[in-house]
């Protein structure tokens, strides 16, 4: 038995190590055949072009005056003849007038070893690739020592640090004619130790070819609840998470695994209806984490286009599930956005966004005798943001002035906090942005729920200075309104 194994092993080694002239010859033949086909296709293309030019020449000589490169009127629509490359592309720019024939990668190109991204550099139509992009979002914040000690800042546990909030690698594109997918991998620092946490921020597919104006999305996703939740942090119109969203959904927001269906009815105005079923993985609001006791979501979104006077989007959302303590929890939200882009401007001059949320949940309260009782809590909160970018052109058009006001009650304890935050943003280009901001937060009846009691409630007044740098590299989908 042992000798048989040794023999088989030796045979395997020989088979791998020995050259295979027959296979090489076959591969070369296939390559030659491929080249021959490419050559014939090229020949055919040039023949067509020459025939066309001959025909044009004849017509010109006969007096028929045609545009210099116009194809014959009766040219078959299915196969437009190649045109003469237009003249005038200046030399020395690294640009050519026309993509060389046969430049699309052949199957042989695809299997040959190559440098990373070599194929991407030869990108042309017909190449099978999805889009990919990398975004980086870095935050620096300065605040009082007592706030750091109590982790009472806008970035809890990361006070007085400069840290990568979100480095994201995203892939997105069509799977087939029926569906598209997006996968976002994310790394970020979430503790003072400096260690990075890596996670799947999103990974989902959307069935786009369903009938009657419907779509179905499944996988892990940022839920379409309200205006901000579905947007990744690097794309937020301000630096930090609004207080109400942080208190109601936690630092990461509502990110869930499950299904989401949308319907856009054929109406003269835009109306989107959405329903979703999810595990309920949110630690703060919906932590039951099982699809048999699901988190159920719904959203209605509509839109009014005021043409030159801007546009308004209105939405209403609901999420109902159970808390980690298996108590019922429902959050209802209303959101509105107005954007005014003067005619001919590249960017909005004025943007206003607001969200109002209401949390209705049962919470477990322990009385001084150590007895747990369930109480119903109704908490509310909102934020309003305004952005002003009043210059259309020139250096000043790269600057934006923003302001946000937050006010929220705590969803599981008594107490309120409110904050004001002015900031200044600078956009050297559409792919690079810096922000400098100041935030003043005031908390009332602070608040065993937030664990600030260790320092006598000294995180009641919080002053924070922010610096943010954000970049986008590679592909990035256009943002919805």
């Amino acid at each position: 038995m042992r000798s048989m194994v040794a023999f088989a092993f030796a045979l395997g080694l020989i088979a791998q190590a020995a050259p295979a002239p027959a296979q090489d010859a076959e591969a070369l033949r296939r390559e030659m055949e491929q080249m021959r086909k490419q050559f014939e296709a090229m020949q055919e293309q040039y023949k067509k072009a020459m025939d066309m030019m001959t025909e044009r020449l004849e017509r010109v000589e006969k007096g028929a005056q045609l545009p210099a490169a116009a194809a014959p009127v009766a040219a078959p629509a299915a196969a437009p003849a190649p045109m003469q490359p237009a003249q005038g592309s200046p030399p020395g720019t690294g640009l050519t007038a026309q993509r060389p024939p046969g430049s699309d990668p052949s199957p042989l190109d695809l299997i040959k070893p190559r440098q990373p991204f070599a194929l991407y550099e030869r990108r042309g139509r017909g190449q099978l690739l999805f889009d990919m992009g990398v975004t980086g979002d870095f935050i620096g914040n300065l605040t009082q020592h007592n706030v750091q000690k109590n982790q009472g800042g806008s970035f809890p546990g990361l006070e007085n640090l400069f840290f990568p909030r979100e480095i994201e690698v995203s892939f997105f594109g069509q799977i087939d004619p029926y569906a598209r997918a997006e996968v976002r991998l994310e790394a970020g620092q979430d503790s003072r130790s400096g260690d990075l946490s890596f996670n799947l921020a999103e990974g989902n597919l959307t069935l786009m070819a369903l009938p009657y104006g419907t779509q179905l999305k499944m996988g892990k996703m940022r839920n379409r609840f309200g205006y901000l939740n579905e947007i990744h942090a690097h794309d937020w119109p301000f630096i930090d998470n609004p207080n109400v969203l942080q208190q109601f959904f936690g630092t990461e927001g509502l990110v869930e695994s499950g299904f989401e269906a949308t319907w856009v009815p054929p109406l003269p105005f835009y109306l989107q209806l959405l329903g979703g079923v999810f595990n309920g993985e949110n630690d703060v609001a919906f932590g039951r984490d099982q699809i048999s006791n699901p988190l159920v979501t719904g959203r209605v979104r509509t839109f009014f286009d005021l043409e030159d006077w801007g546009a308004i989007q209105l939405g209403s959302s609901i999420a109902a599930g159970q808390t980690p303590q298996q108590k019922s929890s429902t959050i209802i939200g209303w959101d509105a956005k107005y954007k005014y882009t003067p005619p001919g401007w590249q960017h909005a001059a004025v943007s206003v966004v607001g969200e109002y949320l209401m949390s209705l949940r049962n919470v477990v309260v322990t009385d001084p005798d150590g007895i747990d009782t369930t109480r119903f809590r109704n908490s509310q909160g909102f934020y309003v943001y305004g952005g002003l970018q009043p210059f259309a052109h020139g250096e000043l058009s790269k600057w934006l002035l923003g302001f946000r006001y937050d006010r929220t009650q705590y969803p599981a304890a008594s107490g309120t906090e409110w904050a004001v935050q002015p900031f200044l943003a600078y956009y050297p280009s559409e792919f690079l942005r810096f922000r400098l901001g100041y935030k003043q937060t005031t908390r009332s009846q602070c608040c065993s729920y937030l664990d600030f009691q260790d320092n006598g409630g000294s995180a009641k007044q919080v002053s924070e200075y922010f610096l943010q740098g954000t970049f986008i590299m590679g592909a990035h989908p256009a943002h919805p309104f």
Binding site: Q65, L66, P67, A69, A70, A71, V73, A75, A77, A78, A79, P80, A81, P82, M83, Q84, P85, A86, Q87, G88, S89, P90, L95, T96, A97, Q98, R99, E121, G124, R125, Q174, P177, M208, A209, L210, P211, Y212, G213, Q215, T262, W263, V264, P266, Y270, Q272, F303, D305, A311, T341, W345, Q346, A348, H393, E395, S397, S429, A478, H479, P480, F481
Partner: protein, 306 residues
């Protein structure tokens, strides 16, 4: 539970089977084009058998359109989406995603890429990245400015329309032939007007008119933008003005949405004129049809170079 499952499966089946897939012949085809140029060309081919709407308005820069849900509602009931195909209108994919219309998703028969077969200019032959500005990796997408490419563009549109309405192919072909005859006729006049200025050097604000220049033998002599999509730095403007003086450039052309005052300052320092050209149908008042757009651009350039 079992009944529920059977009901769900039956409902899903009925839902899938019930999808309308063919447009009744009597109805007009509902077409949405991403830009006004493509709308005009589609109207020329489709005639009264189509109803065409555009997502971008002529006065809007199609490079970075604000994706509004009102665009999605235009696309919600469309049978056909006509696109530029060279990444000028990449925002259209976000509109498609929000429109919930299976007829126009990528790969569906209701998609037309007008750039098929276009001899694309300015295709980068070197590695490109964003340090070069907003470079289009597949080449310059502003091919609709060249009237010589109308046969190819309309052929692609005809193909798309006939795919959805094969019984109307003959009418589409007649419309196309008629339109091409109009283009041919107008081209004679345009050529006559610009022939005396062949080789004239012109500065652009953004490379929107490369195809137009190439068609009429005009030469681009630089751009006001530092790199495509990147606003100019003072150093760049100094170099540009010096180059314009040296090359005796007499004309700077701008798009209506660009910084016209800056272009005027550059032109004044270099001893040149500034003219607004129409990069698309509807970009200026006079460019209300495709033929009028080309006519306006030709006349404007010819008058300025006199």
């Amino acid at each position: 539970m079992r009944r529920l499952l059977i009901f769900a499966l039956a409902a899903a089946g009925a839902w899938g089977l019930g999808a309308p897939s063919v447009t009744p012949a009597a109805e007009k085809l509902r077409v949405v084009a991403t830009t006004t140029d493509l709308k005009a060309l589609t109207e020329a081919v489709g005639g009264n058998l189509v109803e065409v709407d555009a997502l971008a308005r002529g006065s809007q820069n199609p490079h970075d359109l604000e994706v509004r849900p009102s665009l999605m509602i235009k696309l919600r009931r469309a049978d056909l989406l006509v696109t530029n195909g060279l990444e000028l209108d990449m925002w259209a994919e976000v509109v498609v995603q929000g429109a919930n219309n299976s007829k126009v998703v990528p790969g569906a028969p209701g998609r037309v890429d007008v750039s098929e077969g276009i001899p694309v200019l300015e295709v980068p032959t070197t590695r490109v990245d964003r340090s070069m500005g907003d470079v289009h990796p597949v080449g310059n997408p502003h091919y609709t400015g060249d009237p010589g490419l109308v046969p190819i563009m309309t052929a692609n549109i005809l193909d798309g329309l006939a795919r959805l309405s094969p019984e109307s192919r003959a009418t589409f072909e007649r419309n196309r032939e008629q339109f091409l005859r109009q283009v041919d006729q107008a081209f004679v006049g345009w050529k006559r007007m610009l022939d005396p200025f062949r080789g004239a050097k012109i500065v652009q604000y953004h490379p929107d008119f490369v195809y137009f220049f190439a068609r009429f033998g005009l030469v681009k002599a630089g751009a006001v933008e530092d790199r495509p999509g990147i606003p100019p730095t003072p150093d760049h403007l100094v170099r540009l003005i010096a180059g314009m003086k040296q090359d005796r450039v007499k004309l700077v052309v701008v798009e209506p949405w660009n910084d016209i005052k800056l272009a005027e300052r550059v032109a004044q320092d270099a001893g040149a004129k500034v003219r607004i050209l129409a990069p698309g149908v509807g970009a200026v008042k006079e460019a209300d049809t495709y033929l009028n757009m080309i006519d306006y651009n030709v006349r404007t350039v010819a008058e300025a170079l006199q």
